[in-house]
Amino acid sequence: MGNIHKLSAAVAAISFAAAASAAHADEVRVFNWSDYIAPETLEKFTERTGIEVTYDVYDSNEILDAALLAGRSGYDVVVPSTYYFTRQVKAGVFQPLNHELLPNLDNLNPELMANLETIDAGSEYSVPYMWGTNGIGYNVERVKEILGDDAPLDSWALLFDPEITGALSEAGCGLSMLDSADEMLSPAMAYLGLDPLSENIDDIEAAGELIASVRDDMTYFHSSRYVSDLANGDICVAAGYSGDVFQAAARAEEAGRDFSIGYSIPKEGAALWFDMMAVPADAPNTENAHAFINFILDPEIAAEITEYVRYANPNSAANEYLSDEILNDPAIYPTTDVMQNLYVQAEKPQDVLRARTRIWNRVKSGR
């Protein structure tokens, strides 16, 4: 379903850009991911600051990227993921943040922020909104039924070992991968013991071959369809975004299914990502944009959003407002051991980007 939303969101974004009128003194225009904020957050912001919020959503980085690169998006705050963000900075999309207007910056977790040094040193252009991981969502009962109790739930072998994927698919348990070169080739390299961020074409080829060896067992490559299919039982192992898998788990529970959905961060390493709040260079309401970012950095607000969307926030001061259930869930706040194996996807040169897309396309279409 993703791309349809993407398409309509693109049209909406472009028409919005065209209609974007002159700045309002008491307005801020926010463009954020869908289902990514608590229901009362925006009201509280308006109550506290008197600034009205125009809130639009997208469901893929690509849509936001196209809107930003076309220029004059009309938004004051946007929230791209790290690997799109770096390239956008280079293209001159964002303006430097005024730290004087962001007193809540001190709340950020310094250990976590160290991961962002190569992305945006000293928060010059951005402040992380939420963060998460990409791992494996699985149907606990089905997988154990087929592979036994010692199923390698904490390993990419669940998706990359032909023996395992063969056994799963033969038993009628559907498998899926995200339709993204970045999101799948890097884990494949990690599984092979290579640097998941390698820009060496041979490494990328090796990852492609690994995926090609299990390709026929995949039901599909898609970046959002697995959410409902995991919940329905149509798919039983899926590479996925942490929050999406949690959503599938919640849906399966609501529907009273006779199975449950688990999420694991594979031990070989997995992607750690951040969504970054940033202000476009041509934002009509710069000051209000800062007010909004500072508001999100408020520990109570950050905690409230995390409780609702089940994504971790980078705000160490927010921990005391979080429920134990969330704070102690290793799928949301991974243990330090697991954290050490996570990698942050960085921007790649055009030829590497193209090589990855090309290899990915070849693997996917089985040529």
């Binding site: 690169l69 149509d234 279409s365």
Partner: protein
């Protein structure tokens, strides 16, 4: 009538004619030619990390006007078999879907045209009515019908015909079904229009001369409805080649179609120039059948 008045009338007529021509002309210029020129321009520029993400075609510096025409994007399309395979996949899928539409649509249109006049309006409505619901919803419904836990599989398992679900979703088969279903009305309507206009006395004459029904159909009805067959086939084939939504929703890993590849160039590689070059080539590819159809039509009009 005085000469002066008639010339004034002539003038007004000319003005009116011009206005009538001007409207579609302005429309086409604004909504076809201009976007086309923009895409052509981007396809000749170079990708850049900037806003917008491509370089300029003209640059004025040191009293010299520099013109940059980058043909590299087009050459690049030849360097990787992916693009040719994707074009081929699209044309193949569209062709199969067009033939299927014709095979299903012709009997439908024929039956409609032969039905009693009071039924025809109702039948026509039945063909068009489904398109009153959103296209997207109708494609989603097919997901519900074809999926492993969908209507067909549940039914077949329920009556004990099969044990494990047939895999129909996420295959080329599902894509073809989706396209045939979505575009069938575009085949039926022009065929119906041609078939109802057909002169019944020709069929009577054939019967009087002892021609059998099959023979009459092949020698009279079919040639006379050729215009409808071609028009319907164009209306199905052309949009099906560029189809993006149906393969995206119903297709599987082996569905390789140009719409999706174009999307990837634009959004994943963020290479607007190559994406534009892909679109230009697709347009050229589609021009061939359009020009052919146009020539057929003018020949038919002439005769």
């Amino acid at each position: 009538m005085k000469p002066s008045r008639s010339s004034a009338l002539l003038k007004r007529l000319k003005l009116g004619r011009r206005a009538v021509i001007a409207f579609p002309l302005v429309w086409l210029t604004l909504f076809f030619l201009l976007p086309f020129a923009l895409v052509l321009k981007i396809s000749l520029s170079e990708a850049a990390i900037a806003i917008p993400p491509y370089g300029p075609l003209l640059e004025y510096a040191d009293q010299t006007l520099h013109v940059f025409l980058n043909l590299g994007n087009y050459l690049f399309l030849l360097s990787d078999s992916l693009y040719i395979a994707a074009y081929w996949g699209s044309v193949k899928t569209a062709f199969i879907a067009t033939v299927a539409c014709l095979l299903i649509g012709y009997p439908m249109a024929y039956a409609m045209a032969r039905a009693p006049a009071r039924w025809q309006l109702l039948l026509l409505l039945l063909v068009m009515l489904p398109s009153w619901t959103s296209f997207l919803i109708r494609v989603y419904v097919w997901m519900g019908i074809l999926s492993n836990s969908g209507l067909i599989n549940n039914l077949l398992i329920g009556i004990g015909l099969i044990d494990s679900p047939l895999r129909m979703m996420n295959t080329q088969f599902a894509v073809t079904i989706g396209i045939v279903y979505a575009y069938l009305p575009f085949m039926v309507l022009p065929l119906y229009a041609h078939l109802t206009r057909m002169d019944n006395s020709l069929l009577e004459a054939a019967a009087d001369l002892g021609s059998r029904k099959i023979n009459t159909f092949i020698k009279v009805t079919l040639p006379l409805s050729m215009g409808g067959i071609i028009a319907g086939s164009m209306l199905v084939f052309i949009p099906a080649v560029g189809e993006f939504v149906i393969p995206e929703l119903l297709g599987g890993p082996d569905t390789l179609m140009i719409g999706k590849v174009l999307w990837e160039e634009f959004f994943l590689n963020r290479d607007w120039p190559v994406a534009s070059a892909l679109a230009m080539v697709m347009l050229l590819l589609l021009l061939v059948p359009i020009v052919w159809f146009h020539r057929y039509q003018s020949k038919e009009l002439a005769s």
